[in-house]
Amino acid sequence: MAEQETAAVGIDQAGGRIEISQQELDLRKRFLELGEDDVGRLTGINDLARRYANGVIDDFYRHLMSFGETRGFFADPQVLARVKNMQKEYFLRLTQGNYDLDYVRDRLRIGAIHERVQLPVKSYLGMYNFYLRAVAQRLADAFKKKPDDGWAAFLSLMKLTFLDIGIAIDTYIESRERTIRTQQEAFQELPTPVLPFREGMLIVPIIGIIDSQRARQLTEQLLSSIRSNRAKMVVIDITGVQSIDSKVANHIVQTVEAARLMGARVIIAGISPEIAQTMVTLGIDLARVLTVGDLQSGIERAEQMLGYTVTRSGAAEAVGG
């Protein structure tokens, strides 16, 4: 038993894992007040459940098939037959006792399957509700002489069903969280390219959110690119940056100064009105930073400072002509 205490079951979904420990299971059961009495009552109606199983399943799928949204999941009759069979097993398992970690593992697996086929949560919950109502009616009929026992059995069944629902919803939430995590990671890994534009000139377009980590990475990349490209001018375009905090803004100012120590001048282009307001409100000193409105002005300014003159040649007439 001591071994059981520390045990846990989990299920791996693509890239994620849900784990429920014995302790957690006990806690969930306590919260639902699902005790030994309930187990007794549930196993007590097992025979009855076997008798009504087919009827409930048929009602259940008749209901499901009357909605286009859920019908779509069972277009193939072979699939339908298999799923019906699995569903029957699932329902019967509710009255077979042993609601232990193996039980949880099974429930996690089923939840994960439903999540994988992207059955909406509302349908999932609706199905549980339909099942409980279908069974309630049959219990009421069977316990006509002892309605209190029937009611108690139903309440026990409801507790267990809610334990299942909790587990199933966890698989859904885990999947969502995984998606969010993946997106966040992808976002953080957004590369910040340092592009050689002309001899001695770099362009650094920044898009998205700059956090401290990304700002640090940008600095390292920029300073080493200045050295390797022998750059004298750098244009950092922040048109695609929505917001900035004081830490990051200070970091940018420091980067500009560090670049100057290496003999390169930095022009910041495309500061949005919001960022301009933030910068001034935060009291960030940009007096020593050269700023221009947009990338075009930034490039023109940099070219001018490097002594480039860009002229239009006659050949341009051919474009679009």
Binding site: T219, I226, R230, A231, Q254, A258, A259, L261, M262
Partner: protein
Amino acid sequence: MRASILKQGTVLIASVQGSMTDADLAQMRDELVANVRRYRSTGVIIDVTLLDVMDSFAARTLRGIAQMIKLLGATAIIVGIQPEVAFSMVQLGLTLEGINTALDLEEGLALLKPPGIAVHER
């Protein structure tokens, strides 16, 4: 270790070594200032490529040298500050304001090239 000071035409080139004590730096300052006067140099390049740490004393000394050289009528340029050194310097607030900087010796020499004299390759 003492800094080596080379004379190249009208330009003095001082190379700061990786391990220089405060006394070494002070000595380099005195030599540079004396040599600018003696050789009537127009430019001084202080190459710190080998320096992997720049503390506040070193930064203050370099800044002082640059200002003194300016008073003597020459231009001082600090070259070869490495990326990591540059960033840690600004974090410490050692921004060497008003001092000329360049990527390396080559760029520094190009900055000192007197206007009006151009060398053309054929």
